[in-house]
Symmetry: C2
Subunit: 342 residues, 2 copies
């Protein structure tokens, strides 16, 4: 293992993305979010993702030279950013200052990102909002791969839901999870390991429960928590697909024709100002939240961001550890650009 700094890793990733034809706006934002995934021990959203970015670029399904555009400000609570068929991250970063200002002014506000390609986790975005002392709720569709509860075929996406709450002097409380019971990558890992799927993860092409990874991957995944998770997944299609005038998960799959490339859709970010909401009421909301977190931890339970946080502290102290194979892969991608992928 070799330990490198966050800055060094981001520079290497940005170099790969520029070599593949991306402009500064796209490559800076993406390299930051990929390096953050690696730093936080989220290997599934770390350098592993670069290949998917390159494949999506090579397939012409994303504009690597897009400059996101902030809509003219009408002074209302909805901030609009058009990603210009580039990646979601630069669009989010463009809109963030106005979202923060408008949330402070009105008590709550929302950012709509349209026409973006999305491959990243949502926790970096709830964290970015929370660093301004605001709570955030973020959601987006993906592509049809999850059957509604009681249904027989893929319709909903894995539709992630993320939430963040600001904490003083430390990373925010943040959760970020798929509304499917398992991620597609977890089914893939079971398949490679030759292990059966746990009950309740998937159905086959005939809509029947299956523990066979191949049958599950060909069929559909199931929502977490039965009809409750299914309802939340449906809500995400409504709010972060239909309501914002962007694609739903079945429409994404229809347009893209594959789940092997990063999906193209929109994203919804809702920000809330605890200071505005608590106005005139007793008690400091941030201090009270710490007492709630202490009570959870005091039971031996873990806060949802705990594992990420521990990995981050380690990486900040000792650097980000990469294997020789990972470093070689980064060099290979740097050398070959888009030819590094099929």
């Amino acid at each position: 293992m070799t330990a490198i700094s966050f800055e060094d890793l981001q520079r290497r990733i940005a170099g790969i993305l520029r070599r593949a034809g991306m402009n500064d706006t796209q490559s800076e934002a993406l390299s930051g979010i990929i390096a953050a995934g690696e730093r936080d021990g989220c290997k599934s959203h770390g350098i592993y993702r670069i290949e998917g970015v390159l494949r999506t670029l090579k397939a012409g399904k994303v504009n690597g030279r897009a400059e996101p555009v902030l809509a003219e400000d009408d002074g209302r609570g909805v901030i609009r950013v058009n990603a210009g068929h580039g990646f979601s991250t630069p669009a989010f970063e463009l809109g963030l200052p106005l979202l923060v200002a408008r949330t402070r002014e009105l008590g709550l506000a929302a950012m709509v990102v349209n026409d973006c390609t999305h491959f990243s986790a949502l926790w970096p975005e709830v964290e970015a909002v929370a660093e301004h002392g605001l709570a955030a709720l973020v959601m987006c569709p993906s592509y049809a791969s999850v059957a509604p509860a009681g249904g027989t075929a893929a319709l909903l996406g894995t539709n992630p839901l993320a939430f963040g709450w600001p904490r003083s002097g430390q990373p925010p409380y943040a959760f970020d999870f798929a509304t499917s019971v398992a991620a597609r990558g977890e089914l893939e890992l079971k398949r490679r390991a030759g292990e059966p799927l746990p009950q309740g993860w998937a159905i086959d092409v005939n809509g029947q429960p299956t523990t066979d990874p191949d049958a599950g991957l060909a069929g559909a995944m199931l929502p977490f928590g039965g009809h409750k998770g299914s309802a939340i997944g449906t809500m995400i299609e409504l709010l972060a697909g239909i309501m914002i005038g962007d694609l739903t998960s079945p429409e994404v799959l229809e347009q893209l024709g594959t789940t092997a490339l990063a999906p193209h859709h929109g994203e919804l970010i809702i920000a809330l100002s605890p200071e505005a909401f608590v106005k005139g009421r007793p008690g400091d909301p941030f201090a009270r939240a710490e007492r709630l977190f202490d009570a959870i931890i005091g039971q031996g339970a873990r806060l949802p961001s705990a594992r990420r946080r521990a990995a981050r502290e380690l990486a900040e102290r000792d650097g980000i550890s990469l294997t020789a194979a990972e470093l070689a892969e980064l060099e290979r991608m740097q050398r070959h650009g888009l030819d590094a992928v099929n």
Copy 2:
């Protein structure tokens, strides 16, 4: 069975509540919501709830003569209503017109209800917002009865989450569920039936999994969907307890000292205008939502509001069916007022 009209049922319930000392504001709002529960086949939130209302009144834990107060309008996105230690429903009804107007103006807005006693389902509130063509997200704490995932004791409430989406010419799409895997009443029913609890419903006082209803009722319920449901339950404590300057579920239990009376806390309602969010984008969001609902139903899956809706249609056609015992109980409560309960 005797069938009576919605209006007749509401009048009878309002009479009972007035006889027990409640003013018109409280008794009108409560009788409407209880009659709606009965009409929609939600027996757990129908006339069964009257006894709990009377007990909470008799214990002096709610002000049956409260007049909710709308805070002076500062033109921002957060509407505030103080329930004056009365029930939540009249406070919600007082604030609704301003919430609707502000949401149309800003694109999104929120209503905070403080200092209310809460015993009702949340779907009537998401439906009331959705009837104005707006989407709604509603949540509130309850009392500590659910352990966080990985924890050992009751801390979170059953913390319901509800969502509504407007539909043209028919009741809104609406879901409303506890973030515990089962409702406390379901454990109670298992206990009475002498049946074991399903795995994963509850832990005992030592924090160990149990299928014994008595042990589970003495211990803690578990969140739905493992750590995901636990995270959502925690989010509800943060947003609809702490952020709005009202009680969390452990604080409610501490103040009330029992789960036999209706809990006292706050409530958060977030309303979103699809017309504002979709502005400048192609496609009618309401027509697109219908296509999504059709695709769900086309798989043989059910929309979350389907059962309630079928019961409502039947009640609107044939009246609300009550048993002789239920009618006798209504008469007994009307005759005896607060003496009808312990």
